[in-house]
Point group: C2
Chain length 425, copies 2
């Protein structure tokens, strides 16, 4: 993509209405724009990041046998009354609306009810289980205050998975599978090292823990107590002697860290299946309610957190898997050969399938380099009068200060050769 | 995918609340389920079709330079008041809701307003134009009556593209580009032959036409008068002598046909740019409002129409580009080698990247064949006691009555060798 064709432009000014670093950087770099408090538009660069994060999540959910669906946002009052969650006093984040007939509808903020009800059509026997079902869907939450940019929105993209098991042993297996998939997702998203599996509620003998995945963040809204060696943590609520013992944590080894939540996994037990009548019959012809789990991962929220925790004072720093493009290519200098060389590199790389954002503007080098840093692609490639003389271009990692000179052909090889060799550059 | 793992099952009964053929077939085959009138859940098979149609649309929009974004569903009252479209008397399909603060919000049913307003941040000079910008987004319309299954929903997936041009000549070029892209899309979706470019309003000298793409449909809600040779039509409104002359149509050659709309393209002129102040400055430093066009394509609606017009009494018939899987594989017979052969074929095909739905149930042949027809994948492959003796399997097109015997190895070749050779089978 040529920046001359991309409709967004970078902005120098901080958006006045945005207090959070993620919204400031993403807005200035042209990834998002605010439509209303807590509701953001995804512009071409932002849409690409959102799609790439979704794809990483989808692949890992599919690998463990997840079946992808898409439920409706519109929710009918009658269903949610059956579980007692229609009442605004019970759930205070509903957006509600009405049909012309006067019937009330709500906008889904989570989807235990419709999926449990739906499965009554398909699950009746032990042979129909276990199941892992997920969707990547726009959710709506009428938050009293929308803040922190993409991190707490009123409209946001979320992956919600639900598990359906016959017994506790099977449920635990599914739970563990999803946990491992989450760990892989955060690794692929470039925040594996920063993310802690955190017991959030439960404990003290029989009460099962629910867990959060928490990522170290200077401006995080939560606090955890983490054992950095075990990669296990507890939040304030669970930080007591009994729970720590159950989890095998030594209080002396725990470190207090500010974090932001990037995912959560819950046991739902038979709460929804009992209330809504999702039962199965076992080999002995006995009927029991299905045991459920629920696994959330805020896709747009995680995009905001990554923007925030992996950035530096000059701008965003995207991990390769989710960068909108791999290379920010440009030219600086006055020789006509310099631009020509950049055009040639652009042509070769795009033909080889490498994702390149080509800054083809006639602008000052300082401006171009500042934009490259702000937009935060993993690599910057520059053709200059000097490099052209040597028949080369300059390759620099966003996070490195050194650069190296490479020939165009070598560059294509580096970025097509499974792309992994570049990681150490 | 093994049907034993797929959570949906086919149903013999017609869903009582569905009057339309598309909803009946898609529900019985397990592609969708109705959550509320006009709002459908996409189950694993349905989600795959929806994704594939979206991908075809995306590819053709990208090819003509479309930039993909994702705008919010939540819309603020203040913006829409500026164009006079907030009022329920002007727009009668709004779903409206409220923030806790009491501020009113609407759910987007189209998005001229937010996109025009957004572009004020990025468009100011003639160098910033032309632009083609689109999204594939869930839209909400509070229809008085939701009917016809996926064809008229209250919540549905739509591709909406908007063009931004400097002058009429440039606008016409963009308009023509999108028209050609639409024609390609319908060809790829398997309804090219059935779809007519139809003048829908306008004409009589200076008034520009707006156009619809209309697909021949027995239960269609519209009527067109089509010249089958020119592949051009008019609807009732435009079917007058002056308009026909302007369009170069001979009334004697027109045939009255029942159709369903699969897309529409409009000139917006400067209506929204004037009201919202989206202007650009030309080379002579003169300021003018941007000239806009709007191009809709209902993704889920088109899925419903394809389900309806390409089906037969036995079930769905998906074109290859958008079938959830290419092959319905199964086995019939009692020899243990028969199932083994099917398992072997399944392994080979999936390893070669061919999308196979493998009916691995122990069920009667009649039941399996009925399901194969109902689910409507382009090809059926069967291993039977007889074919196994010959070391082969039976390959049959969904639309053909003859079948042929092929070896497993040959089958893999047919479906991996660019897959085009199979079209004539």
């Amino acid at each position: 993509m040529r920046t001359s064709e991309l409709f967004t432009k970078t902005k120098k000014e901080l958006p006045s209405e945005e207090a959070s670093i993620n919204a400031q950087l993403l807005t200035r770099a042209g990834y998002i724009s605010r439509e209303a408090a807590g509701a953001y538009n995804y512009l071409p660069l932002g849409k690409r990041v959102l799609d790439k994060i979704s794809q990483v999540v989808r692949e890992e959910m599919d690998k463990i046998g997840g079946q992808e669906i898409l439920l409706t946002a519109l929710q009918s009052k009658e269903l949610w009354e059956l579980t007692g969650r229609w009442d605004d006093k019970v759930v205070d984040v509903w957006f509600k609306t009405k049909l012309k007939s006067g019937s009330e509808l709500g906008l889904g903020f989570t989807q235990e009810e419709p999926l449990t009800a739906l499965l009554r059509n398909y699950v009746s026997s032990h042979q129909d289980l276990p199941l892992l079902i997920y969707q990547i869907q726009t959710k709506f939450r009428n938050e009293l205050r929308a803040k922190s940019g993409l991190m707490r929105g009123r409209e946001f993209l979320m992956k919600d998975m639900y598990s359906f098991a016959r017994d506790q042993a099977e449920h635990k297996k599914l739970f563990e599978k999803v946990k491992q998939a989450y760990i892989k997702i955060y690794e692929r998203l470039g925040i594996g090292d920063l993310t802690y599996f955190t017991a959030a509620t439960g404990g003290s003998f029989s009460k099962e823990f629910s867990y959060e995945f928490q990522t170290v963040a200077e401006n995080g809204e939560d606090v955890i107590y983490a054992d950095k060696t075990l990669k296990l943590a507890v939040n304030e609520e669970v930080n007591g002697p009994e729970a720590l013992e159950e989890l095998g944590l030594d209080p002396k080894k725990l470190e207090k860290i500010k974090v932001s939540e990037v995912g959560n996994i819950f046991n739902l037990g038979t709460k929804y299946s009992s209330l809504l009548g999702l039962n199965y019959v076992n080999e002995k012809n006995q009927e029991s309610p299905v045991i459920m789990g629920c696994y959330g991962l805020g896709v747009s929220r995680t995009m905001g957190i990554i923007a925030e925790v992996l950035s530096d004072k000059n701008g965003l720093i995207w991990p390769e898997e989710i960068a909108p493009y791999q290379i920010y290519l440009t030219y600086v200098g006055s020789s006509s050969n310099t631009k020509k060389a950049a055009e040639d590199v652009y042509k070769r790389l795009t033909e080889a399938g490498v994702e390149v954002l080509y800054d083809d503007r006639d602008a000052r080098a300082g401006e171009k380099f500042a934009d490259a840093d702000l937009i935060g692609l993993p690599y910057r490639v520059v053709s200059s009068d000097k490099t052209v003389e040597e028949g080369k271009v300059e390759l620099k990692k966003r996070t490195a200060s050194e650069q190296k000179l490479v020939e165009a052909e070598e560059l294509v090889k580096i970025f097509t050769n499974n792309h992994k060799v570049t990681k150490s550059d």
